[in-house]
Symmetry: C2
Subunit: 186 residues, 2 copies
């Protein structure tokens, strides 16, 4: 099984570093006596401070009720060591199985929310619902990241980016153009 | 200069193929006698049909007024052959320069909107504002893709994914897990 990387606290205003490139993520949730995990690919950073992330969580997902009911969840960033687990989680329902147990993942207590972090992921972002005004119309949740945990290495984790039809793009090399940026546009 | 790839029409319900992996995009707009281009990294697919994309366009951008005023724009997908142009566009203002002219890009007439496509990009998605209810509060536009143009090759373009601080992740290899998906979860 994949190991759980050592993590440190990370500034919530800088989580775009991990989410802006569009990785598939695992969303963990807990409400009453139920815990679940879902895969999510439809999300975007919306603001630095407060640290806002908008995302689609379909009402057809078992996680929808847990997240709406508790007002909380954790966005976890898996890497390619977890590829088959990511696919397995996306192709099963928490209405039928306990996904932490089924996939051998380690739940870790969060600092500020009731939902557990997934220990094996590279990063975990604890979230609370910030604005629910577009949930009924679009299943669109606006979340505030209230605490962030990021693995101390590697600096550039190998992430998965879904393209539909069962195919993922794996993150490639990093190139910098820092010297060509205006400081306030970085 | 980069060439303009040959494109064909593409089903608007399937544009997640290109936008879900999180590429930086170039948004072109036109209103009255002004045309502009901006870079954008904060966007997400929201629905297949209608084909909805949510995105943040800051009111501080010159493009904000053009897109809100016209109710339209085009989301263009650049590849790594355009890296320095993408950076240049993101570090200049359309209030001061004509970006098509400055960066030697070819404006191409759209089919359904007034804003021009960027010929050199791999794909162009013509959009109309679908819901403006979160623009005032979050600068969040919900766009409907009304027509899509995609280059006939390559099948997997090398895209740029911004991580902040002047650094881009370049798209890597494609891996398939299609056989492990339930058909209705692809």
């Amino acid at each position: 099984m994949p190991r759980s990387p050592k993590k440190s606290n990370f500034p919530v205003s800088q989580i775009r570093r991990y989410l802006e490139p569009g990785p598939i993520v695992l969303v963990s949730s807990r409400w009453k006596d139920e815990t679940n995990i879902m895969t999510m690919g439809w999300h975007t950073v919306m603001e630095f401070t407060p640290s806002l992330v908008g995302c689609i969580i379909s009402e057809g997902n078992h996680s929808f009720d847990l997240i709406r009911g508790s007002g909380e969840c954790v966005i976890n960033l898996p890497t390619t060591t977890l590829t088959d687990i990511v696919v397995g989680i996306g192709n099963s329902s928490g209405a039928e199985i306990d996904k932490f147990q089924e996939f051998g993942l380690r739940p870790v207590s969060a600092k500020k929310v009731g939902a557990p972090l997934i220990g094996e992921c590279h990063a975990s972002f604890e979230c609370r619902i910030h604005d629910d005004s577009l949930i009924d119309r679009y299943n669109f949740f606006i979340l505030e990241v209230v605490h962030a945990h990021v693995a101390t290495s590697p600096k550039h984790p190998e992430t998965l980016h879904y393209t539909g039809n069962g195919a993922f793009m794996v993150s490639g090399k990093i190139i910098s153009r820092r010297s060509r940026f205006e400081p306030d546009r970085l």
